[in-house]
């Protein structure tokens, strides 16, 4: 019987019920949307690092990671490369030679990290060609071409086509100097790396260093699907038994920190929103109880006992929540899906965001499990927030209540 009374109660005052249902819908939508947005935001961060800088997996000679000297190589890397390329999980794979050295212009000198790369492969590996702002991406076909960061060029006070001298040691610890011409200037998202990383053609650097053609210092593997990460790490270790195989999480601990902090703050923010929702519901339900003093008093006077009143009010909230939750879920799911396809352009909130090379379009995404967690959390919160108004109704004195206007 109580079920029926509460069901009718909520339809007697449609606007009031509508307000409560709406707050639940909006609260649920907000929770889902914020989680999906936050997830999208740091997914964006990860993608930038993985697809434009690190790749999913890198293999080095263990001594190379420690000493950073280019004589510690992975031998027969061509063969390894071929095997990796033929694997169906691999999107792209590239091998590089790396050495530390110094770059000098007529006015200034700076410490740098020289990457010997295969320009064609890096187009798919880290889309390096898209970062080029001035000049061309190794297209002139000339041998001694070098690609440097805009920031480094500014520091060295040089322009496109200027000549620079690179100094580094070869594998026999002899000092090598070589002249290069600036073929292009690039700007990536990570400006501090722009000052340090310069790129030349791999075969040239190999010759200058005195390495074998088949040797390289770094093999970077980009996967088609992140889920294969663990199995591909095992596969890579089997190909290069002596090598050190690392995924992007170990390669970039900073990113790990960003993700971890983001997680924490997402929880805090969700908590704050839950609180806001709670107050919204408590207030509306309290209003609705206080407004109905006369009616509740009457019910009591004709013999409905207090625990039943309590249950009745909780049931009302339950109905309202049950109606709000599915709609909220649906709207949340729709908006997440919409922005998953179309993305949210956040550049309007921050001028010049894109100018720094940050991607300013965020694609929301959320896995199905999270939807359920959020929905259940809101469901419980909504029911809990009905307890206080229901309790308030218990303290009612029927005879006074009836006489109230």
């Amino acid at each position: 019987m109580l079920l029926q009374i509460s069901w009718r109660n909520i339809w007697r005052n449609k606007t009031r019920s509508f307000v409560v249902i709406c707050s639940i819908i909006i609260g649920l939508w907000a929770g889902i949307f914020i989680l999906a947005f936050a997830w999208g935001l740091y997914q964006n961060n990860i993608d930038d690092t993985v697809y434009r800088q690190l790749s999913h997996i890198q293999i080095h000679n263990p001594l190379f990671t420690k000493e950073n000297e280019s004589k510690y190589t992975i031998s027969n890397s061509d063969e390894i490369l071929q095997k990796l390329q033929s694997n169906k999980n691999v999107a792209s794979v590239s091998s590089r030679v790396i050495t530390l050295g110094m770059i000098s212009s007529p006015t200034n000198a700076s410490g740098i990290k020289i990457f010997g790369i295969n320009p064609l492969v890096e187009k798919t590996q880290i889309v390096l060609n898209e970062n080029v702002r001035q000049g061309a991406y190794f297209e002139t076909g000339k041998e001694n071409e070098i690609l440097i960061g805009e920031k480094l060029a500014k520091k060295l006070k040089i322009k496109l086509k200027s000549k620079v001298v690179l100094t580094f040691t070869n594998i026999d610890n002899e000092i090598i100097t070589a002249a290069f011409r600036v073929g292009g200037l690039y700007r990536s998202k990570n400006i501090s790396l722009d000052e340090v990383n310069v790129y030349v053609q791999k075969n040239e650097l190999v010759n200058l260093l005195g390495l074998q053609d088949s040797e390289s210092n770094e093999i970077a593997i980009l996967l088609k699907n992140e889920e294969q990460l663990d199995s591909m790490k095992i596969f890579s270790s089997s190909l290069v038994p002596k090598g050190k195989v690392e995924d992007w999480k170990t390669l970039s601990p900073e990113l790990g920190m960003v993700i971890e902090s983001f997680n924490l703050y997402t929880y805090i923010i969700t908590g704050i929103i839950l609180l806001a929702l709670t107050f919204g519901i408590v207030n509306t339900m309290l209003m609705s109880v206080l407004e109905r003093f006369r009616e509740l008093g009457m019910l009591m006077a004709i013999g409905l006992n207090k625990s039943k009143i309590f249950v009745m009010i909780l049931l009302e909230t339950l109905y309202l929540t049950l109606m709000g939750c599915p709609i909220g879920l649906l709207i949340g799911w729709l908006s997440v899906n919409f922005f998953e396809k179309h993305g949210i352009n956040i550049s309007m909130f921050s001028e010049g965001l894109a100018a720094y090379g940050f991607s300013s379009i965020i694609y929301t995404s959320l896995d199905n499990q999270k939807y359920m967690i959020v929905a259940i959390m809101y469901f419980i919160t909504a029911l809990l927030s009905a307890i206080y108004p229901a309790y308030k109704a218990l303290q009612l004195n029927p005879s006074e209540a009836i006489r109230k206007i």
Binding site: E260, S261, L264, I269
Partner: protein, 406 residues
Amino acid sequence: MFLKIAWLNIWRNKRRTLITTASVFFAVLLAILMRSVTSGVYENMIHNTVSYSSGYIQIHQKGYWDGQAIDNYFEENEKLNQLLLNNREVTHIMPRMETFAMASYADKTKGVLILGIDPDKEKRVNKLNEKIVKGAYLETINDNAVLMSQGLASKFNISTNDTVVLLGQGYHASSAAGKFRVKGIVKLGSPELNNNTVYMPIQQAQFLHGAENRLTAISIMLHKSSNIDKLKSTLQNQIDPNKYEIMTWKEMMPEMDQFIEADSTGHFIIIGVLYFIISFGLFGTLLMMTFERNHEFGILIAIGMKKKFLAFILLLESLMISLIGCLAGVIGGVLVVKWFTKNPIYLSGDLRTFYENYGIEPIIYFSGNKNIFIFQTLIVLTLSVIIALYPGLKLMRLKPIEAINS
């Protein structure tokens, strides 16, 4: 008269007023807390980063930043120090001397950053003494020893009490060369600093470079939530602009500023959603309130009250309630933020290790920046005023007879 009627009206039904005030109160409180937490993360990060590197503000000899040469060092000046310390925002000043030099040990030579520091002041600002992993901390400004960062020490394979040779360029083209005992090894948060830093007592550094009493910079530390741009312009008026240049960390480390700006953009959307929920909560409360009073409004109109006056009174009521709620919210916000500043929440687990590795205090820090309080309150106040227009609109369409009979 309207004011008085409105004022009396809101106290006629205290419970209703309290509920509405409470929803404004919580709206302000939550908005403040949210913003305070999100800005607090960055402020904490900045505070810890600049305490090792540049300080919030640095004072150099004019022209130093562009040239960054040793000849642009300036003489330490007691008057300048006093002037800085007299500013209320300034918590510490750290004299610094920064040069690059080649360091040699056994058969290895590497370029290193030499930081001439006042060990005692540094200890107080960034607790450098607690970062020692081996050996001991420097004692005085002329202690004849250096601290080496952990990454650098492992590259050299050097241990405490070994001697390192430093060779660099001194003041006015003199050469700087010296032997120093490694007294301790420090683990620094930033990988970049950890791989190439040598700390040296400042007098030793000045002596090594033949630049007695000269400094590269005075690094100024402030409270976490200070208004840095305002302080910069105050200082600019007090200090001879032809002799010194004043730079903030934003100018010296634009990458970090950009990173923070890019990262915080997402928060705008999140806080936008919060405003949405808050407004809806407020709206719900006001809607209920209007309902409840329909009967009363009907009678008032029936006995000759003009609708527009009544609507105006209603608006005044909402305004008063909003103002009371906002005031209470600000006070509540200040108290909560103060409480958490005094008793910070410590992080645990993975995140704690992450933060500690980076030399950042593992706490959830609530920013006490005044702007947050002012802005958030204004935003909520504006929202509540806009929402308060609704009951008035509703009233204009009220049919007295129906209202009285409801």
